[in-house]
Symmetry: C2
DNA sequence: CGGCACGTGCGACATTGTCGCACGCAGCCC
DNA sequence: GGGCTGCGTGCGACAATGTCGCACGTGCCG
């Protein structure tokens, strides 16, 4: 079997599997025979492709076929209801443990769509925020989503970075620096960039292969989220990032 | 980064890359940032996806986009002219070294399409066979192609295995056994199954990930191709399989 | 009912994928 | 125009992961 050094053999093999399945439905054994691979190897490839949605198996016939995730490649494979369903209990726990209001969101058409919102446990008057759109460049949720989505940054910059407060980042260079910091630390911070007196901390939620499909964040008064130097409180950062990791693990197990 | 044990991480990552590119054209750095991967790792994935035709790069902008190999997944990514172009010199060399006529073929719509035909070096009267269709189940070329294509076997069996000689394999079980042997040894043999007094030996030509995209074979009188027990002569088998491997390496380098 | 073939999953270890580093090139700014 | 920065590409060491033999359970066939 002639494999070119420097190329990733397992990816080449997976491409061959997809090509075979594009021509018709096949069983593990047939794929293994076609590629002269041991059954176990073929099965590992198929299991992975199935997991990422590129392949599906008919349980009755055991035959594999191309999956919706590949046929509809433009969709990011995770709809907002599924994100909400997977993340909402973790969001409730974060609100309880962190003591601040929590939102889960995703980028859609250049905006942050809030798919779940948890009030701050002690507060009595809140406006439920689900379905609302937030500006990506000024909110912590939005900034962490932009950090991993270069085209969305370009769109936002081209549309102009609107100033919501005097602290909103309105220069492309400033936004880019903030997003680079976000990537380096793995979480974002917004201090009075969206609303005066309020801050937010958010972390990414990832899907297969590391794809960012959403974010979870807390928000509240600056003096509760930040220390005297307007830096995020480490304990709260840890709660947010740990929760994001838990949701990511939950999604990976699907 | 949450990766599930038992799944192939590099395949998951490649699926994430494809999803990112389905949403827009991106540079290496942007993909690396989106997935929190080192640039080199992202580059290795892209290079592989490019090699198998799933991704293409715009040399002017350095941006990557989805490639024709993925957008047109039903095509096996190798057209017959390209197979011919890559294989014809090797076929000529095989005819010179093996002393028998050589054909290169591929499966199309249940038939073997001969894409290149080399006369036996010593013969003066030959009919050029290019473009001709051969029955897959009775020829060595066809049997080696069927050995790696389970759906094509099903089609042939369903259509009925026509007897061309009294030695043609007409029972599905007999054909299946012959194809299993073919896979086990890596080459096929046909002794008077297509034409009385003539035999053929053939080996598969493979593309990326091990996909069989064609075959090369020799044919001639039984007494020249086989020993007294009607088994293939080892020296000729070696010539055929070595040539198939050389063409496969040639294709891999593309 | 027994034998066989298949799909699935586990785990050892050899192979391969990962990724830091270096380099060349292009673009930008002073 | 030169220096700096960032990017894309490729090399090679080695740690991590992919490979794959084996075992098991299930279903089918004679």
């Amino acid at each position: 079997m002639s494999h070119v050094p420097g190329l990733i053999q397992s990816i080449e093999r997976s491409s061959a599997v997809l090509r075979l399945l594009a021509a018709g439905r096949l069983r593990v054994k047939e794929i293994a025979d076609a590629l002269d691979l041991p059954k176990s190897t073929a099965h590992s490839i198929l299991r992975t492709l199935e997991h990422v949605g590129f392949v599906e198996q008919d349980t009755r016939t055991a035959r594999y076929r191309l999956g919706r995730g590949l046929l509809e490649l433009g969709e990011d494979g995770l709809d907002l209801n599924e994100l909400r369903g997977r993340a909402l209990n973790w969001a409730d726990a974060l609100a309880a443990r962190g003591g601040e209001e929590v939102r889960i969101g995703a980028l859609r058409d250049g905006h942050v769509v809030v798919v779940h919102h948890v009030f701050r446990p002690d507060d009595s008057v809140q406006s439920l925020d689900t379905g609302h759109l937030l500006p990506p460049h000024a909110t912590a949720l939005g900034k962490v989503l932009l950090a991993y989505n270069a085209p969305a940054v370009e769109v936002a910059v081209r549309a102009g970075l609107e100033a919501y407060t005097r602290r909103t980042l309105t220069l492309p260079r400033d936004l880019a620096r903030s997003l680079t910091e976000t990537r380096e630390r793995g979480w974002s911070l917004s201090v009075e960039e969206w609303e005066a007196g309020r801050a937010g901390i958010a972390a990414p939620v990832r899907s297969f292969g590391g794809l960012v499909v959403g974010a979870i964040g807390v928000s509240g008064p600056v003096e509760r989220l930040c220390d005297t130097r307007r830096q995020a409180r480490p304990a709260l950062v840890e709660h947010v990032t740990a929760t994001a990791r838990a949701i990511t693990r939950d999604l990976a197990g699907s």
